[in-house]
Amino acid sequence: MEIKHCVNHPDRHAIGVCVITKKPICPECSTKYEGVNYSREGLEELKRRRAQKTRSGIWSRAANLAMVAQAPLSFYLLYLCYLYTFNAFTGLAK
C-alpha cells in the first residue's frame, strides 16, 4: 500500500485526506470537526459554503414570505376585478 505524505509537510506521513480538498494531511495539519478530518483550506471552504447556504436560505425564506405576503393584495385585486366587471355589466344589463 502506498504511504501518502502530507501536502504541507512532505517529510511526514499523512494520517488522512481532507474531505473538502481531498489532499493528504498530517496530524498537525488536520482538524477533526464533526468527526471528519479537514485541512486548514478545507475548513475555510466549509465555512464559506455554510455561510453561502445560510444566505441563500435566508433569501429563499424571504422570497417565500414575499410570495405569501402578496396573496391578500392579489385576493383584493381579484375581488376588485370581479366588482368592476359586474359594475360595468350593470350598465349593459339596464
Binding site: 429563499s60 422570497a63 417565500n64 414575499a66 410570495m67 405569501v68 402578496q70 396573496a71 392579489s74 385576493f75 385585486l77 381579484l78 375581488y79 376585478c81 370581479y82 366588482l83 359586474f86 359594475n87 355589466f89 350593470t90 349593459l92 344589463a93
Partner: protein
C-alpha cells in the same frame, strides 16, 4: 436555471398537448369531471347569484356577491389542483404528491397569476404569463420542491423562451372559445327564430327577448368558460409533462398509450 430552460424547449408540435388533452378527457374525463363539478359548484352558484342581483336591480348586493365569487374562485383552484395532481400522478406513474403541504403556495401563485391574467389583459402580454402560470402552478409545485417564487421565475422564463408556442396555444384556445360562443349564439338564434316558430309553432318573442339580453349572454359565456377551464385544467398538466418529457427524454405519447392500455 437558464440552461435548464434551454433544455426543456421542445421540438414537438406546439399544439400537441391540446390534442392529447382532448384524448385524455375522452378516455378519463368522467373520473376527473366529478371532481371538477365539486370545484366549480360554489363559483357557479356565486356567479348566478350575482347575475340575479344585476337582473333584478339589487346592485347593493354586488360587493358581497363579488367577495363570495372571489372565495369560490380560490375554492375552485384548490380542487383544480387536486385534479391536476391526480392527472400528474397517472402520467408520471408515481403516487400523487402530497397536496396539502403545497396548497398554500399553489393558491398564492395562482392569485398572483390571476392578477396578471385579469388586470394584465389590457396589455395582453402579462395575461399570457398569467394564463400559463395559473394553469401550470399546481403541476410545477407538486412535481418539484420549488419555492413559489422559484416556480414563478421558472414559468416566466419558460414563457419568455417559448413565446411563439405560448402565443399559439393561447390563440388556439381563445379562437376555440370565440367559435364556441358564436356557435352557441347562432344555435339559439336558429332555434328561436326558425325551428321553434316555424316547425313547432311556438311563439318565441318573449324567449328571444330574454336570449338577446346581456344577462343571458353572460350566463352562456360563463358556462362556456367553465367548459374551457375544465379543458385547460387537464391540458396544462399535459403541457407541463410535454415540457418535462422533452427534458427527460420521455415520450409522453407512449405514456398516454400505456395509460389507455
Amino acid at each position: 436555471m437558464a440552461g435548464e430552460i434551454a433544455e426543456v424547449t421542445t421540438k414537438r408540435p406546439a399544439l400537441r398537448p391540446l390534442d392529447e388533452a382532448v384524448e385524455y378527457i375522452r378516455n378519463h374525463g368522467a373520473a376527473v369531471f366529478t371532481l371538477y363539478v365539486a370545484a366549480v359548484a360554489p363559483m357557479t352558484a356565486a356567479f348566478y347569484l350575482l347575475l340575479d342581483a344585476v337582473s333584478t336591480g339589487m346592485y347593493s348586493a354586488l360587493p358581497e356577491g363579488c367577495l363570495l365569487l372571489t372565495v369560490a374562485t380560490v375554492w375552485k383552484w384548490a380542487w383544480a389542483s387536486a385534479i391536476q395532481g391526480r392527472i400528474q400522478a397517472a402520467l408520471s406513474g408515481k403516487p400523487m404528491a402530497p397536496l396539502l403541504g403545497r396548497l398554500s403556495y399553489i393558491i398564492c401563485l395562482k392569485l398572483a397569476a390571476s392578477v396578471a391574467l385579469l388586470w394584465g389583459s389590457l396589455i395582453i402580454i402579462p395575461a399570457i404569463y398569467g394564463f400559463f402560470l395559473s394553469g401550470m402552478a399546481a403541476p410545477l409545485l407538486l412535481d418539484r420542491s420549488l419555492s413559489p417564487l422559484a416556480a414563478a421565475i421558472w414559468m416566466v422564463k419558460w414563457v419568455g423562451d417559448s413565446m411563439t408556442r405560448a402565443v399559439k396555444i393561447t390563440t388556439a384556445i381563445a379562437l376555440l372559445f370565440l367559435v364556441a360562443y358564436v356557435g352557441v349564439s347562432l344555435l339559439q338564434l336558429l332555434a328561436t327564430q326558425m325551428i321553434m316558430p316555424s316547425l313547432l309553432g311556438i311563439d318565441t318573442s318573449e324567449l328571444s327577448l330574454i336570449l338577446s339580453g346581456a344577462t343571458w349572454q353572460m350566463a352562456v359565456a360563463f358556462m362556456l368558460f367553465l367548459a374551457f377551464d375544465f379543458f385547460w385544467t387537464v391540458a396544462a398538466v399535459l403541457l407541463y409533462h410535454d415540457i418535462q418529457s422533452g427534458r427527460a427524454g420521455v415520450d409522453l405519447g407512449l405514456r398516454l398509450t400505456a395509460l389507455e392500455g
